[in-house]
Assembly symmetry: C2
Homo-oligomer: 401 residues x 2
Amino acid sequence: MEHRISRQMTDATDAYGRRLGAYLEQSSYSRLRGGPGVIDLAFGDPHEFPAPALVEVLQRHLSPQHTDWFAYTRDHPPAQESVAATLSRELALPFTADDVALTNGAFAGLTICLRSVCDPGDEVVYLDPAWFYYEPIIASVGAVPRPVALTPGSWRLDAELVAAAITPRTSAVIVNSPNNPTGAVYTDEEYAALAEVLREASARNGRPVYLLSDEAYRRIVFDGRSCPSPATHYPFTFLVHTYTKTLLLPGERVGYVAIPPTMPDPAVLRRALTVARLTTGWAFPNNSLLFALPELEQHALQVKPIEQRRDLLVDALREAGYEVQPSEGTFYLLARVPDADDWAHAAVLEERGLLVLPASVMGAPGYLRLSLTVTDDMLEETIGRLRSARPSTREHASVQR
Amino acid sequence: MEHRISRQMTDATDAYGRRLGAYLEQSSYSRLRGGPGVIDLAFGDPHEFPAPALVEVLQRHLSPQHTDWFAYTRDHPPAQESVAATLSRELALPFTADDVALTNGAFAGLTICLRSVCDPGDEVVYLDPAWFYYEPIIASVGAVPRPVALTPGSWRLDAELVAAAITPRTSAVIVNSPNNPTGAVYTDEEYAALAEVLREASARNGRPVYLLSDEAYRRIVFDGRSCPSPATHYPFTFLVHTYTKTLLLPGERVGYVAIPPTMPDPAVLRRALTVARLTTGWAFPNNSLLFALPELEQHALQVKPIEQRRDLLVDALREAGYEVQPSEGTFYLLARVPDADDWAHAAVLEERGLLVLPASVMGAPGYLRLSLTVTDDMLEETIGRLRSARPSTREHASVQR
C-alpha cells in the first residue's frame, strides 16, 4: 500500500527540493564539506570556537539553581523583560514583557506566526531573493507562496511591487532586513511606504495583512548603521528575532517574536502565539537558554571583523571579475557572475575547494552567495584561490545540476 | 480592525481551553504553585535536583570539541545508531540509524507525524482519557479529533472501539502506552488485535491508517514489566519517544520518531519527516543534546523509587476513600472520587495544599490524577494530609470552575 503524505507536506517537500534541497542533493557540497583544504563559504555557520565567556554562560545555566530548574517552563519574565528593554531602547517604543513570545529560534518564530494567521489557500507575499526556507514553511501551512522579484543589483524594498502582489487572499507579507542574501538594510522611508501599502490593502480586504519582519540579523549591521524595524511603522507586525546569528550559535536555539505596543487587541495574538508554540512541537526555548537569555542579551558577535572581511572579499571578488556591492549587514555577500550561470561558477570554485552557494536557490539566478563567517585565515586562502580562478576559467568546469 | 486568527489555530485554542487551559486558568493552580507548604502533584515535573552525573553529561557536551560544534546539524549518525541499537534490542527488530528521526521531544515528534500524514478535514482517532495536548495538536493541523471513550476503571486498549471510530477520512490513530493518565501498559495481545483492525481499515479505505504510538514513558514501567510496542505488530507505525520523561528533564528537549524496519517504502516517510522538522520550527534537538544522546541513552531514572511511591500512595488514597488501581507504568495514579465531581475534590485537596489534576481535563471525569514525581518527603506529607481530608469533607469546599 502506498504512503499518503499530506498535501501540505508534499508541497513543502517540493518547495524545499526546488531551492535548498536542489543544492544539497545536486551539488558536491555534502560530499566535499569538511574535506582537506575545502573552505565552506556556502552557509553562515561558525568556523571558530565561540568565546569562552559565552560557553561559560551556557554551561552555568545548565547547573540547576533550584529543584524546578528543568521543569516545564513556557515564558520566563526576566528573559522577556530583557528583550523588551532592548527593543524599547532600539526602537523607541515601550515594549513590555507581555509583548515578547520566546521561541527556540526564528524557524519557530516564523512558523508560529504563519500558523496563527494563515488559512489553507491564503497567500503569503515575500521578496525574492529570499531565505530558502520561506517557501517550504509557507507551503507547509497550506498557504500559497507569492514571491515578488526585486530589481536585481539594487534589491531595495519596493512597496509598489508588494502592492501589486497583494490579493484579497493575502494574509501576510514577509520582509527580511538585514537581508539574506542581498545584504540590504531597509530604511525607515522604505518601511513607511510599505506600511502605507499594507494599511490600504488591509482596509480594502477587510482583514489585516500581517507583516512578518524577519530580523534575524538585526545586530549584524555595518558602517555604523542602525537597523530600523517596520514595527515602528505598522502595528500589525510580528518582529522575529533569533540569537543564533547574533551569537553565531545556530545549534543552540533561542529567539522571540515581539509584537509592537501599538498592536490593537494584543491579547488575542498572545494567546494564539502561545497555543501555536504548544502545537508547533513545544516551540519554547530549552530552559537553560531561557534562563541564560538576560546574559545572552549582553553578548554579541564583534561586527567589525565581519565588516573587514566583507571589504577584503569585495575587493577580491571584483578583481576576479565579479560584480559585487558591499553588504550593509548580515553574514553574506552576493556576487554577480559575468554570464548568468551561477551553478557553473559555483562548480568552478568548487574545483578550487571553495564552496559557495549558487543563489538561484535563493531566487537570485546569476549570483553567488558567500558567507563572511569564515576565519581570517580561510578568507586569505579564499582570496588567493579567487585570484587563480577568474570567471573566464569556467569553460573547464564539469557542471553538475 | 479585528484580528483574523487562522481557523486551525482558533480550533486548537478552543481545544486547549477545554482541557488543560480550563485547569490552568480556572483553578487556583497557577496562583498556589510554589507557595509555602504547597505540594504540586498535578504535573509530572521534577522536584529534586537531577543526578550530578547527568548534569555533567549535559554540560560537557556544551564544551565545543571542534569548530563546527554549534553549526547547523540535522541528524547525527552516532545518536541515531544508539537509538537504533536500543530499539533493536528491546523490540527484536533490526532498526537502523536511518529509521530514527531525532526531534526536540515528543511534542515535536507527534506534530511532525500529524503534519506529514493529515490533510485538513482528515480525522484522527485517539483513546480517552488522553494527554491534554493531543486534541490541540490534531486541531492545529486542521484534522478532526475523534476521541474514543475507554471503559472507565479498566482502561484497556479496546480494538473494537477503535474499529467503530474509524471512517474513510481517518488518517491516523494515536495510542499511548504506558498510558498517561491511566497508568495502563498495553500488551502484545492488545496490539495484535489493534493491528488487525488497522490493516482491515487501511485496505477498506485504500490508504494507510497510520498508527502514532506515543511511548514517552516506555522506560517507566513497574513490577518488572517490559513495554511492548505496536511497531512490532503494524508496519505503518511511528514510534514516538522522548528523553524528557526517562531523564525527568522536561525543560531540555530531545527525543525521536522511529519507523519500524517493516515499514514499506521508508524513503518517502523519511523525507517527509525531514521537511516536517524543517517546517515545524526546526524540530531537531539542539546540538549539545544531539551529541550527548549516546550517553543519555545510558542514563535513566531509577524506576524502583517511583514504584514504591506508587504503592504508598495507592494505600493512602484507598484509606482516604478513593478507588484506585496501581499503575503499571508512567508517573501517574488515577484515583476515582466517590461522587464523580473531580473538580470539587481537587478543590478540597487544594485547601490542604495538595495540587492534583481534575482528570476531566484529560477525558476522565470523576477521577483525579496524581504525579509520583514528588520527593519521598513530599509524599509523606501528602499521605498525612490525605488522612485529614477524606472525601466526605467536600461539602466545605468552595468549588472553582
